[in-house]
Each structure stands twice: as C-alpha cells, then as structure tokens.
Amino acid sequence: MIVKMKKAVALLTCVTVMCGLTACGGKKKDEGKVSNTTMLAETDAKDVTFAMGDEAITGYSGDIAGISVVGDKIYFSTNDWLEGEPVLLDEGVLSSSSSDAYADDQSVATDGNASEEVSEEGEYDISYDVITRVYSAPLSGGKAEEILSATDLSDDNIEYSVDKIFADKDGNVYLMLSGWGKDTDYENVQSKTIKVKSDGTYEDYDTSFLMQGKNPDDFWISNILFDDAGNMIVLYQDELKVFKDGKEKGSFKPEGEYPATEGLTLSRDGKVLVAYQAESDSGSYLKISEFDTESCKIGDTYSAAASYFPNQNSLMTGSGDYDFYYEINAGIIGYNISEKKTVKVFDFIASGIDSDQISFKYMVSPEKFIAVTYDESDYTQKFMFFNKVDPSSIEDKTTLTLATLWSDDSTKQSVINFNKENSKYRIVIKDYSEEDDPMAKMSADIAAGSIPDIYIVDNGIGNLSIQQCVAKGMFEDLTPYFEKDPDVNTNDILPNVLEALKVDGKIYFTADNFTAFTMMCKKMDPEIDGWNFAEFREFVESKGDDVKAFEDNTQNGLLDAFLYNVIDDYIDWSAGKAYFDGEEFKNLLEFCGKGEPGELNWEDYDETEFMSSLKNGKLLFMSVMLTPQDLQMYKAVFGGEVSLPGFPCADRNGKAISLQNCMAISSKCADKEGAWEFVKQQMTREYQGKNYVWAWGMPTRSDIFDLYMKVYTTSEEYVDEFGNEIYPRMGSMGFNDLEIETHPLTAEEEEIFRHYIETANEAKWYDDNIAEIVREEAQSYFKGDKSLDEVCTIINGRVTTYINENK
C-alpha cells in the first residue's frame, strides 16, 4: 500500500513538473503565436545562386512606371515617350513647342501628357508626348497584353503621372495619379485615381473614403490588395485599414510612438500578411503578422531576419515550400509557417548580381524570380527571369567569409568583381547590420569561435578597439605579404598613410582611401605648422576675450572637438600609461572649462553672424575635413588666405587622417593567401585608378594620389589611363549661403594641400570607453565641484585601469 502511495506521489510530482514546463512560453490566445525565427541559418553559396535567364515579358513599350502582381498575372504601367518635332528657339530663350511645355535650367523629363527638353545650345526645344499604357502579362512569362493606351490623362492645367498601380481579381486596374500644376512650377497640386476596366475603358474612381481621418499632407498609401470576399485592404505608411463597399470595416496600427508599416501581401494560401516595425529593448525589428479581414485582428506573428525592408515590394506571396518571401539587403528569404523555417533562397553576392541594377523582384517559384533590369547598352528597362543555377554546375571554390558591420556598395561591388574574376576563391559577406545589436553579435561570434577570414575594420571589430584586436592577435601581419607580392608594395603607398597604417611597426590592414581632418583659421603670422595646447591657448587668448575659438563654444562642445581628434595623444598603450594628469591635458580641460555651460542651442544658430564672425576674426577656427578645392571655398569663408595648423597636441603633430575601407585578414584564416588575393586588390594601381575619381576620400597610393591631384589642377578635359573622363574642376561650391566659383588649384594652393597631406601621418582612432570616462569626470570640473587637479587625477586613474586591463 505504502509502495503504491509512493509511486502515486512520484507520478503526481512528475506530472506537476511537466505541467510547469508546459507553462513556459505560454501566451494569451488573442496575442497570436510569435515565432522568434530571426536566426537565419547559414546557407551554402551554391544553393542561393541565380543567373539571369530569358526576357520574361515582351510586347510592351515605354518606361515601366508601376507594377502590381495579382494571382498569376502581373500588371504594369509604362510611360511611352513620343518625340515631337524640334522647335527653333530664339537666342537660347526657351519657347514652348506646345501649351504643355515649361522651363528649367536643366533637361527635364516628367511623366504626363507632355514635357520638353532644353537643348544644350539653347537653340532647339524638343517636345514629347507621353502615352500612359497599362499592360497585363502572365507571371510565367510571355507577351504583354495592352489594357490601356491614353494620352489624355492630363489637362491644360494639371499634368498627371502614374504614382502607383493596383489590380483586383476581376482584372480591373487602379492607377493612382499625382497631379503637377503647370502654372505653379510643377508643384504637386492634386491626386486622383482612375479605374481601368479590362476592356480598356477607364473612369475616375472616388477614393475620398481612403482619406477619411487622414491629414491630406501627411499620409500615403503603400499598397492595396483585394481579397475574395470583396474587401479592399489598404496599407498606409502607419496603419492598415479594411474597406468594404467604400466603408471602413476595421484597422490595425502597429504599437509604438512612431508606428510604421513595411509591406502587405497574400500568403501562399491566401491569408493577408502585413509587415511592420516593432520595438524591443535592443532596438526596432520587423514583424510579419497574419491579418483576419473579418475580425480585423492580427493573428499568428513571425519575426523577420531583418530590421527593415529595402523597398515596398519586399514582402511577396509564397510558392513551393514557402508561405511567403521577403527581400533583405543580402537577398531573398523564404518562410515556411508550419515548419517555422526561415531559409535564404537567393543571395545577391553569391549570384554576382548588383542589387542596384535590378529594381523590382518577385519570386515566381523557389527556383525563379522575375525582375526589372536596366540595360545600359540601349537605356531600356526589361522584365527578365532569373533562374536558380544547378548547384552541381557551379565551380567548386574555396569560400572565404568577409565580416562587416555594414556592407557598403563599394565593398559589395569589390566582392562581386572578385568572385567573377577569381576561379579559386569565393568571398561571402557576413553582414552584421541585419542583427539587433551588430557589435555585440559580432563579438559573440568571435568568442564562440565563428571567426571570419577577412574583417572590415571600422574603428575596431565589434566591441574591440584596434589596439585590442592587435593585442589579441586577431589580425594577420600583412607586412610580409606586401614584401613578396609583385602587384603591391609598401613603397607604392603614400609615406604618411603607410605611417598611419602601422601599429607597433607592423601593417595589419589595408585602406584604399583616406580623409584628412584639420583645424582651419585665417592666415597666421608667423605661420604655425603644428602646436601644443599651451601654444594654442596662448594664441586664442591673445585675440581678446570677445573672440571664440569654435562655433560650438560650450564646455562640452569644445571638449568633444578635441577629444575626437587627439584623445590618442594622452595614451601610451604599449607602456600602459595615460597622461591625463599632465600639464597638456590640464591645459586643455581648463580651456574647455572657460567655455559656455550647457549645450549649444542650434535654434539660435545665426548663419550670417557665423560667417561674419569668421571674416572679422571673432570666430577663429573651423574643424574641417579637407579636400583640395575646400581651400578655395574656405578662403572665401574666412575672407582671405587660410592656415592649417592642425589640432593642438603634445608632440605638435595634430594633423589627423582617417583611413577608409580598412580590411584585415584574420590570423585564423584557413587560406591566408586567398584572403590576401582579395584584400590586396584594393591596394592595386588598377583598383584605385578606377575608383579615385568617385571615392569618398583620397587614394592611398602615391601614383594614384598624383592623378587625384591632377584632377584638381588641370584646366583641360582629358581621359586618364584608366578611362576616367576628367573635367576641370570649374563650377561652383557652396557653404551656407555663400557660393563661390571654383578654379583649378594654383601652384601655391597645391603646395599647401600637399604639404598638409604629406605631414599628416597620425591615424585617428577613437576609443569610446576612454572618451566616456573623460566626459563624465570633466563635468565635475565644469560645474565647479572639483578642482582641475582632482579631476585630472581621477580621469588618469580610471583610464590607466582601462589601459592596463587591455595590456
């Protein structure tokens, strides 16, 4: 009996424990199931590779203006431009060829009934008649069927252009048109919607019910769907509404201070899906919810592996194994609801496709998508199919991972080019910008042993500073690679950049361009080429009490300006020492303390006063990023010649440069030679030669830097050896309301600029932890709570602890 009772008690205990377990993750029924599937499984590059196939849709003309997919049909509108007869103009003065023409100082092309172009010589005016066409075509591809061809959408006063296109299940197409006033310099004056029936006739469609309760100046419609029950589901920028027979049936608004919707589509089995922004402790992320058009409530909810969608068409109806698809920056994701499975089905980089070259994507099946491409050869847009490439047909290559907190266009393009040209290696980008907390996630991955082969170094890696990365041995020393490589050599790099690239005498990363920062002021007499803080202070104080050093003359503004540029000067990482208790820093802090308390109120910023202060010497310095032609502009701003003394620091070398697009090879990379093949390309003459004209900063190679300077000194057009068309830098530059005419640099200007660049050899790395300590402690001094010595001692102690921890 007792044994039986014991068994019963044991069983009861087990059941109780199990009940407790089942309670975990419970939810209220009306909240919907939230599946946290933001983790995107790693996919083999071969499984996500697509290639361009045949032209999907033919038989249409004009530029594609709007697209809508309903069921197995694709509806789209085009603007077809018909060139009219050229009309001779009188002495370059524009004369209208038709009543619809208007003037501007550049060529103008707008949608609508008619537009015109001003000829370059001002001799002829060419008018265009615009035909708005609407087509439908099967999603599986084929010839487009014209539904509408209209030239009379606009009238004498208002020119209409297609803004958006939607279609219902009966084949009716709705064109939302924006109206531009011809007499009001083409301001958006009116909008209207027309309903185009399948027989090609059209009529105005009253959409006033869509605007009820909305501020006419502050709302827009992203998408409209029609379901089988006759509901019209409208996605506004901040909410979703359901209408039936012109009456509002219900709505859904995402939570949060700034609700934002991101997409609307039907799932594979016809359920309405809405994507919207949601907030969590670590920031915003995307949710995709089922929406019941009868109860007008959201149902099951799924998290997307992205924090935003790249465009309004990103959410797509599912096919095959997937209930829906969505596009992210890196490619297209498929989601299977029953298996709660998120799978990348297409990857831009693996496919070697530049995402900027295709403007519309729609997954027809897991193996095929339709997209609009732009053909640069004949300047036309085309609907093209992209088909999944048979994985077995893809050449086996060694895959190397490139980790970055944000992959910009130049990085993506470099990877695509490398993958196309290199037969042995394939680079795959691991872009952490999609993560909730990119820096923390990157650090966590490294800690977990998921170490990439190549890093994009952005002021450090994850939560680690450059010094910490080097100290941990994360980066491969690239010095020997430079020494033995026939294509790149350290002698090719600008000496100052080479100096800045070195950490403890070794090169750990490459950089294809750099920017220079300096303090600029009116011409100094005598000229100062580098100074310490005492000299800087003496200079400022000699100008009188009514003179400000910087526009932001607040205590914190001054401190930030110096911290950002010279904080590294007060730290000796190798010796584990900080010098914030030295006279140099005390001088700096004391100077900042003389600034105004509080924050600068930008609402009080007076542009005119700012400009006149610079000219009359009441405002001494500007902190600027320097480009060659800026010298000319700043001469005008300061009203005379300028000096570039650099930021004040102990060794009088406060000329900072910031290295851009830095790449490092992981010391754990399995194929370092392969990684070097990729990394070195940005240091080659070929690469920098092709990119120096459009790069953000200046090229890091000496020979290309000379070409760069030539661009700014030439007075004649030429094509350089890399095929870049170079035009003399003559035009206009603006600063606030000031506009100046620029000219090729004079020999003197070139000399000043070159001298500055050649002597700027300190790389600017910013350690936020140290800056935070300094900022925090400085407040006690600014408020008068503590003496200068006390504060500097505390700062030095805290920073020393930080440095020593990282030794």
Partner: protein
C-alpha cells in the same frame, strides 16, 4: 532449503539493484545539471587559462597566470577586494553578533527590531542603490549635512572614502541575515550550562567569552565564510553605483573579470578566476582548520 535461501538472496540482490537504478534515475537530472553547469565550465575555465587568446587558442602553459599576476589592473583589483573583505567580514561578524546579543536580552520591542534589521534583505538592490546615490552624491543629502555643519562636501564615490560608502551598504544589507543566524546559535546553547555558570558566579562578560563564544564558533565561521563570499560579490552594487571603470578604490576583482569578458580576454578572465578561487579555497580551508581546533572543546561537552 538451500535453494530457497539462494532464491531469497537473488531476490534481495534484485531489489537492491532496482533500488540502486531507481536512485540513479532520480539523481540523474541533478547529476547532469551539476556536470553541465558546474563541472564542465570549471574545466573550460582551466582550458581558457592555458591558451594565448580565444582567437589563436594556442597553449601557453602558465604564462597567463604570470601575466595576470603582473597586471597592475588585476593587482589593484585584488588589493581593493582584499582590503574591502578585511574590513567587511570582521565588521559583519562583530556587528551582527552584537545585534543578536542585544536582541537575546530582554529588551522592549524585540520582534520589531528583528523585523527592522531583516527588512534590507527584502529590498531590491537596484532601489537601495538609488537611495545610496541620493545620499552620497556630490550634491546629496550627506554633503548637505556636511555643508550645514561647515564642512567641505566630498564626492564620496570618487574619493578615498568610496570603499566606506560601499562597506556601509554591504553591512546594511547583510547584518540582518547574519544576526538571525547568531540568534539561532545563541538559542541553541544548552540552558543548563549557562545556569551552572551563573551558579558558579561567572559574570556576563566571562559567560560570553568562556561559554557562548565557544558554542557559537561554528556559526561564526559559517557567517565568516558567507560574508567573505558576499564581500567578493559586492561588485554588483559597485557596478550599479559607479560603472565599469569606477574610482580606483572601488575597482574590484569582478570588475576586472567582467571587463575582460567584454573585451574577449577570456584567458585573463579565466586565470584571474582560478587565482581567486584558489585564494578563496585556501582562506576557507584555514578557517575550517581553525574552527576545527577551537570547536573541539564544545564537541566534547
């Protein structure tokens, strides 16, 4: 007869085996938990302490221990933690014992005092810290009092007194719990021994040192060990009060470990953790030895 004996023996063995199996079955979850969450991480920590860093993972033997012992940040942290513990543990024992003795005596509002001393245990640390910040901020209540009495204000958390502020918080938080333990120990002293001592003319002072102290020795050691462990865990309070890189005197061993974890210096973290663990084991071992020797006479009673 023999067969039946063997049968019984077999049956008994079967039952024993079944009991043993069922015991293991019930033990398994706890056992697995201990292995996964305590034993395995311990070996992982040992492994990390012997590699150069988590990127290269090359064995460097004892080099990390040498480096950590030579690291001035670690040395400062160890010194601060030790100083704090040396102040906190004796005070935690003495003050809570005095409180327990006071409450043992026949004083009015005894139970209310007990509740009052225990209440800090129920207050969440985060809210306590808010109060401490209000009290010890540069413009806080304490400095206002000081100004009232003509003294210069002190930035308590960024001054040589910073450890005292945290010590005060530590004692406020822990005395109540220690006091309860002492009260229980004092109540467990055999009454007859105390009565005999009174008949023998022992003074209260003599009674305390000659009898009570000996009887509560195990509790004193227990309280001491618990206070020592808690003093090492004061990081939470200091972190919430002063952040990752506090004023020098407040930089504790757990700051060093927490910060090295964030900067992925697992080898430093692990070495520091092992050094600290060894130190704790030695201290606690010594305490046990002392307790063993002192407590012997009590066991004989």
């Amino acid at each position: 007869m023999k067969i039946s004996k063997e049968k019984t023996k077999l049956k008994k063995e079967k039952i024993r085996l079944r009991d043993r199996l069922s015991a293991w079955f019930f033990l398994l979850p706890s056992f697995a938990g201990v292995i996964i969450f305590f034993v395995a991480p311990f070996f992982v920590v040992i492994y990390y302490s012997t590699i150069d860093n988590i990127i290269n993972r090359e064995s460097v033997g004892m080099a990390n221990f040498k480096a950590v012992l030579a690291n001035s940040a670690f040395r400062d942290a160890a010194k601060n933690t030790l100083t704090f513990s040396c102040m906190a543990v004796p005070l935690a024992i003495i003050l809570s014992l005095l409180m327990a003795l006071a409450l043992e005596a026949n004083i009015p509002m005894k139970s209310r005092f007990r509740t009052f001393f225990l209440s800090p245990l129920m207050v969440p640390t985060a809210s306590v810290l808010l109060i401490w910040q209000v009290l010890f901020d540069h413009h806080g209540v304490v400095n206002e009092w000081m100004k009232f009495f003509g003294k210069n204000p002190v930035d308590w958390l960024k001054s040589p007194y910073s450890q005292l502020v945290v010590l005060l918080l530590f004692l406020w938080k822990n005395l109540g719990y220690n006091m309860i333990l002492f009260m229980a120990a004092l109540a467990a002293i055999p009454r007859d021994v105390l009565e005999v001592s009174v008949l023998d003319g022992a003074s209260g002072f003599k009674q305390f040192f000659k009898i009570k102290l000996k009887f509560i020795t195990p509790t004193i050691f227990f309280v001491g060990i618990m206070s020592l462990i808690n003093s090492f865990k004061v990081f939470r309070e200091v972190y919430l009060l002063a952040g990752d890189y506090p004023y020098g005197k407040l930089y504790m061993l757990q700051h060093f470990m927490n910060n090295t974890f964030r900067s992925l210096d697992y080898q430093k973290l692990s070495s520091a953790a092992i050094i600290m663990a060894v130190f704790m084991v030695v201290i606690i071992g010594i305490l046990y030895l002392v307790e063993d020797r002192i407590g012997k006479d009590v066991e004989d009673i």
